[in-house]
Amino acid sequence: MTAAPPVESAPAAPPPPGAAARARRGAVLRRLFAGEGFVAILIVVYIVAMAPFAQGLLSERNALNVLSNFWPLAIIVIGQTFVLVLAGIDLAQSAIINLTNTVGALLVTQALEPSLFDKSALWGSVVGPDGGPLGGGGGIALAVVLMVVIGAVLGTVNGLLIARLKMPPFMVTLGTMLLFSAVAVWLTRSENVPNLPEEYIAIGQGRIWGALTVPAIIAVVLGVAAHFVLSKTPFGAWLYAAGTSRDTAIISGVPYRRVVVLAYALSGVFATIGGVLYSTRLEAGRPTLADDLLLDVIGAAVIGGVSLFGGKGSVLGAALGALFFVVLSNSLNLLNLPFTVVFIVKGLVIVAAALLDVVRNRILGGTR
């Protein structure tokens, strides 16, 4: 037996001049296109382009307005990111907001007009003329905890239906969106819940110093926590794996059902907290508070690079997408455009973002 002679490979041909530079440029462009940098640049370019036309766009007051609108939306979009990464969708976020903010307001309200609320199912048991049971002191914190728990439970219900019964996320969350919203309306017979305590309102309006507000702190803390969960924990890795390929993830040992349930629970929790901020800045619990919010949430997530096909997206991207959406709405208002035009522009932006998502997927393949 003789050993086969080693195969000598032919010397590689030298790359054509400039090829390396082109490849580097291509890689940089791909990274830019894939990452959050693209959205950040888009925001800056958009603001610079709009500033001469939108009066007050760059003023300090407007910056505070934009931030006030940004924090709650960013929280909700980050919550949606968990399920979008999983290749799911949570249409019920708006209904979870409607239900939890209404329940929370009922728990903490300090007075209710009997003629408006005496037909509520909770009248005489949970609420009465003197309001809800948790209207003062530590009751506020307990009420918020209860709201978050309810949000988590509602999200878990969605997750269980999707994971255990293998139902399509779109249909499940569409159904529960109607269900949860109807319960919110039923609880108060469509009435808004007023007379909220100052401590509760401070959650959405509390100002610490300059632009540093209570909503800002809540949003940043939640954003950092979500980023940690998505990028540094096994759960985050499972989420991306399951979103990229469900079957491969299951074969690889990812506890798929648990991941789905947890992702929808987190979506419910984030929606609840974002809803608290919206509710408290309007100083009332509202069973229809988030009826028009869903398009902004999905649109912002997609603009932020969270793929509708699953497996891609980041907290920073989601937050930047929310910022872009808020800046867009703000600038269109400052241009004093009719609201129909504002809706048309938003609709076109959502389509453009979806197209961008498709292009990204084709260019980048499996890159996160």
Partner: protein, 355 residues
Amino acid sequence: MTRFRTAMAGVAALALVTTLSACGTTTGGGGTSTGAATEDISVEVGADLSGKRICFGFSGSETEFWAAGIKSISDSLKAANATVIEHNSNEDPNRQLEQVRDCITQGVDGIVVIPEDGSSANTIIKEANDADIPIGIFNRPPATEDGAAIVAVADNRDVAAQTTQYLADEAAKLGRKVQPLIMVGNLSDQNAVERRNGFYEVIDANPDLFLTPIEVQTNWDAATGQANLQAAVQANPDIDVLFTSSDFLFPQIQAVLEPLGKWKPVGEEGHVLMGGLDGDNRACGLIRDGYVDATGVQDLFYEASSLLEALGTAIADGETDPDDTIVDPGFALTSANFDEREKDMWGCVITPPSS
């Protein structure tokens, strides 16, 4: 590839819904006038607002009253040479708050708002007060008296009571106890609360005439009102008196009563005594034709004129936190006084803008 196409189709549908929902719910968004009324329905502002910028936010124009009110305010401000920045929040209080904040960013000289409801009115007043900009609230009063604002509002309770009293007088002629029904508005709106209170004021004062009233919730929504009325009439077919908290619901009432043979003019067997509130064009026609017995009239032009005059004066005087409530006494237009008071009801004298 299938997933790509499915997702793209979903998003395209989402975007289409966004666009269509904007176009389909109400007309006449901010920046343009609300409709095509041929009449000039501007009112006297009493001040030259040249060089002044007024933010005008409203929550929708789904009824004749709101469409006419919006057009009247907008046209009146423009006639006074103000630059009007209009924003339609499409019934979203969060959006309305953001729109008013964006107006404040632009340094407007005054704000006029038709709020979504009483509690959001208070939040918006607070924003205006903090920015030292005078604000006027048209027809939908704040939930509390916190904050400084010029509020123009009808005496809804009294107008509703006057209307119901006419229905009671007519019902007494039947010589028996009668079954009343009230279509209630969204009770987070103080207007709806007061109209309901006015109705009950008369009902409670005539225990020998009225049975316990049937309440039908509408939430100021035509479809909800029609569905709930249908159910109520099926359960209680012997309705004698019907009071709707807003005239815009008469088409829905007709749609429910007509198939049951209960949509009959005054004098015919089976006529249901009917009253409303607002004083719109449709109610005017129905009273003229004998189907409706009375309606409470809000003096839209008085409210708009008084509000804008007070706001114009505050702006001219540099007053940043005017605080006043202007009450429109209103009146009941009935079959009995129709000929003499028809011209006093806005719905009888203008063709309403498209709503």
